[in-house]
């Protein structure tokens, strides 16, 4: 019952914003056509004013993070009492659904103005250190929530997707009931709690708490199958690489605190106001270098969490975790935290001359690099992981080219379709005993019982590839591309992203054409054997296959005992909802703000698009804002066609190479082309050997240093200490023979001593 209620809530909540915003579509469509520059300046001045004065939020908003925490506690209690049912899943879905409902309420109230945008709801005082008189000499980090439309945007898809994926996982993880099920859900809830803290925290330290909290949950969930050394390693890698980023974030936080005297957003934004004014007036010299340094440091944290160059290496490995985790944490929500951070601290980023270009270039290069790697992989989940990295790169590039709306919109759409892609892959993995190699699967979509998965996959792929017009991915990606080409300094970024778009379309449909259509073929993965005796493996596929014996077609004689088991209702339902949602969010492009619903939200938040104008104004020292064009056409409009064509080409290439005339699972026409690119394909498949490079230049030297230090510690540091002990010991032991117990020795030394003594006396006496 509880589940049905939750489900209806979800459906209602998904539908309502679209419906609500559809009404105001006309108004915003009008504003969309209006000129940009002048309006943006006006926006900026107005919005920054608004940011500076937060209202007081109602306390019930605290329920949003608290409910997942309750879910965590309940799941942990389930674990403590060794519950051997799916109880934790239902509790989780209940808690997260409730949290989503509250979020929705928050959104509605914020959008209707009942809650001030922004506003702060303070829970309790977490850390407060004062070292002098007045607030200037103190650091206050309350457990408080900062509510603005950006928060709403993020929390909506975080809690919404978490609820859905929690539901999905109830079936997906069913094999672990009584074993790791509670653990999974505990970490899952804790993740949502941490993510809420990250997104909703009213100060950077609370964001940092969420930041590290999601890192922990990511660690725990990647290493969920802890008996696999690779999973443990992947979890460790994720945590440590993220910690490097966290260090940057922490230092940025400290620098913020030192410079602004506070880490609360409201205070920071208020104090940044003079700088923003200086920027808009072109007085760049009034902005001290320290302010320009802050975003650079924060950026490092963002790059770590959102898997950007050079810290992206953990994300592909993170696919060792259960697929729901990959979908939620490593595709939809956690990895967008970096985007969130940049968006949240956008005023600070605007103040730096270098920060946003760095963000843009990093994003673009990451997008391209990850796409090239993704093209050459065979593990479909890994391809999705690289595509995530690539799409995150898009988002950063979007932020960097000053289209925070585009970035946020892409985050939003990406969350849905990428989650769906992962969940589809997860379903395949689930059904084929962990098989993820696209050379060993074919025609899955047409197998009985796999129709929903096939469709969902197709929808996801279309979105990811940016299939024109009908997919949300197309619209969001288009916004970023348009933004890039519209910015005269960022045209190169635009070209990189455009190429990447083509590559994306290609590798996405490479997966689809190889796995979901074509001749039916499969080889089951090794998990059916590997985890057979394992408490935590999902070996139930095996049993299930036996139960349905005879009903399903055999894929392969060699695996006569294996039957892929099609997903059940929970998985199918979730996939269906997401597929619908992925299309539905297209509507958001045309409702709400001047560039859609998301832009409406963004413009009322700290990730204010108005900065664009100010920045441009500053760049041209108060002169005319040069609006770049794409070969003479308006960049945004041109991109609608160009990106669509590029996406189409990519899909077409994939069709020719991987579908047309393919008769086996393992071979395709693309193989014939491999010699043409020489070693490039091999290098790409080897991920450009970045892991090996990092290993060689960072890990190995550190390890050597550690061993050397250890040796130094034993030999020198401790050696010196031991030397101090050794000197008396040596003296003693070298004198010991003199204490031989033989009378003569004593007598001799006595006589000698007496002789010397008397000699001294004689010589002194003179």
């Amino acid at each position: 019952m509880g589940f049905m209620m939750t489900l209806s809530t979800i459906l209602a909540t998904l539908a309502s914003p679209i419906a609500a915003l559809a009404q105001s579509e006309a108004a915003h469509a009008a504003s969309q056509e209006a000129g940009h520059a002048a309006e943006h300046v006006a926006h900026a001045a107005e919005k920054i004013e608004a940011i500076a004065a937060p209202g007081v939020g109602p306390m019930w908003l605290l329920l949003i993070p608290v409910l997942p925490l309750v879910g965590f506690v309940l799941s942990a209690l389930c674990a403590a009492f060794r519950v051997k049912s799916k109880l934790p899943a239902w509790l989780t879905v209940l808690c997260l659904g409730a949290s989503f409902a509250v979020t929705l309420g928050m959104y509605l109230q914020v959008s209707s103005g009942q809650i001030a945008n922004p506003s702060v709801a303070t829970g309790f005082e977490w850390i407060k250190v004062a070292w002098g008189a007045g607030d200037a000499h103190s650091i206050i980090a309350n457990f408080g929530l900062y509510i603005d439309s950006l928060t709403c945007l993020w929390m909506l898809f975080v809690t919404g997707l978490a609820t859905l994926i929690g539901l999905y996982a109830s079936e997906y993880m069913a094999g672990d009931v009584g074993a790791g099920y509670c653990r999974f859900y505990a970490a899952f809830n804790l993740f949502v709690f941490s993510m809420s803290c990250l997104v909703m925290g009213d100060n950077l330290l609370l964001l940092y708490l969420g930041w590290e909290g999601v890192g922990l949950c990511s660690y725990l969930l990647i290493g969920y199958f802890y008996k696999k050394p690779s999973a443990v390693e992947a979890g460790k890698k994720a945590f440590i690489v993220n910690r490097i980023g966290d260090l940057g974030l922490a230092l940025g936080l400290m620098l913020t605190a030192v410079h602004f005297g506070s880490i609360e957003y409201s205070v920071i934004f208020a104090k940044a106001q003079p700088y923003l004014a200086a920027l808009s007036e072109g007085r760049l010299g009034d902005i001290p270098a320290v302010v320009q340094l802050i975003p650079v440091l924060l950026m490092i944290g963002a790059f770590g969490k959102s898997a950007q160059l050079p810290l992206y290496v953990w994300l592909p490995d993170a696919m060792e975790g259960p697929t729901p985790v990959s979908a939620l944490i490593h595709a939809a929500t956690m990895v967008t935290a970096g985007v969130y951070l940049v968006a949240r601290a956008y005023p600070l980023f605007l103040l730096s001359e270098t920060a946003l270009p760095i963000v843009a270039w990093t994003g673009a290069l990451t997008a391209l690099l990850a796409a090239t790697i993704g093209m050459a992989q065979f593990d479909i989940k890994r391809i999705m992981a690289y595509s995530t990295v690539s799409q995150l790169g898009y988002m950063f590039a979007g932020l960097g080219v000053l289209t925070s709306t585009g970035a946020a919109f892409h985050v939003f759409t990406h969350a849905f379709f990428k989650a769906m892609l992962f969940l589809s892959c997860g379903a395949v993995m689930h059904g084929f005993a962990g098989q993820l190699d696209l050379r060993k699967l074919s025609g899955v979509g047409s197998m009985p019982g796999w129709r929903v998965v096939g469709i969902a996959m197709l929808v996801g792929c279309l979105n990811l590839a940016g299939f024109p017009v009908i997919t949300s991915g197309y619209w969001s990606k288009d916004m970023i591309l348009g933004g890039a080409f519209a910015n005269p300094h960022m045209v190169a970024i635009g070209w990189i992203l455009l190429i990447t778009a083509g590559l994306t379309a290609y590798y996405t449909f490479r997966v689809y054409f190889r796995v979901f259509v074509g001749p039916k073929y499969f080889e089951p993965g090794d998990e059916v054997h590997g985890h057979a005796g394992d408490d935590h493996g999902h070996d139930h596929g095996h049993d299930h296959a036996h139960a349905d014996h005879g009903d399903r077609g055999h894929g392969h004689d060699a695996h006569a005992h294996f039957h892929p088991h099609a997903p059940g209702w929970a998985i199918n339902t979730v996939l269906a909802i997401l597929a619908v949602a992925a299309f539905a969010v297209i509507g958001l492009r045309f409702v709400g703000g001047h560039e859609g619903w998301v832009s409406g939200l963004i413009e009322h938040s700290s990730a204010n698009y108005g900065g664009h104008a100010m920045y441009a104004a500053a760049a041209s020292h108060g002169g005319e804002h040069a609006h770049a064009t794409f070969f003479g056409y308006d960049a945004h409009q041109a991109m609608m066609y160009v990106s669509g064509v590029v996406g189409f080409i990519g899909i077409a290439v994939a069709f020719v190479l991987h579908y047309a005339g393919r008769t086996t699972a393992a071979k395709s026409r693309a193989d014939a082309l491999l010699p043409l690119v020489g070693p490039l394909a091999k290098w790409a498949q080897g991920k450009w050997y970045v892991d090996e490079l990092y290993n060689a230049i960072i890990r190995v030297p550190l390890l050597v240093a550690a061993h050397v230090f250890h040796l130094i510690d034993k030999a020198i540091v401790d050696g010196i200490v031991d030397l101090f002990g050794w000197v008396p010991k040596f003296t003693g032991s070298s004198l010991r023979p003199s204490q031989s117990g033989v009378l003569h020795g004593y007598a001799l030394s006595m006589a000698g001593g007496l002789a010397v003594l008397v000699l001294i006396v004689v010589m002194v006496m003179r």
Partner: protein, 126 residues
């Protein structure tokens, strides 16, 4: 005394003259005795240090006692003070006591080890 005195020329001049009217003793004469004393002492010491027979070692200590005795008596004569001689009496006493004890010990130790080698009576590892 008388017997010694009857030996012609031995003691008459020196001893009896001194006994009747002790003449002051020259520093240089004292020096002679001191040298003899020191030499005796050194020889006794060297014997003590080099000889390994317990009995001879004890003999050497007696030798050093002799040296001390000579020095004491020489000083006693030089200063015309009997205390030096008195001390030689005590030396004799101690020497006798020492001899008694030491020889008893030697006997005891000899019974244990069938040897008089001083180096054998050591329990230490060195």
């Amino acid at each position: 005394m008388n017997m010694l005195a009857s030996i012609p020329g031995v003691l008459d001049a020196a001893v009896l003259a001194q006994a009747s009217a002790p003449a002051p003793m020259a520093q240089s004469q004292l020096a002679h005795y001191m040298f003899i004393s020191a030499a005796l002492f050194a020889i006794g010491l060297i014997g003590f240090l080099t000889r390994r027979n317990l009995i001879i070692m004890f003999l050497c200590t007696e030798l050093m006692f002799q040296a001390a005795g000579v020095a004491l008596i020489a000083f006693s004569r030089f200063h015309m003070n009997m205390t030096g001689q008195t001390f030689v009496i005590f030396i004799l006493t101690v020497a006798a006591a020492e001899a008694a004890m030491a020889l008893a010990l030697v006997v005891l130790l000899f019974r244990r080890r069938e040897s008089l080698n001083a180096e054998e009576f050591s329990e230490m590892k060195g």
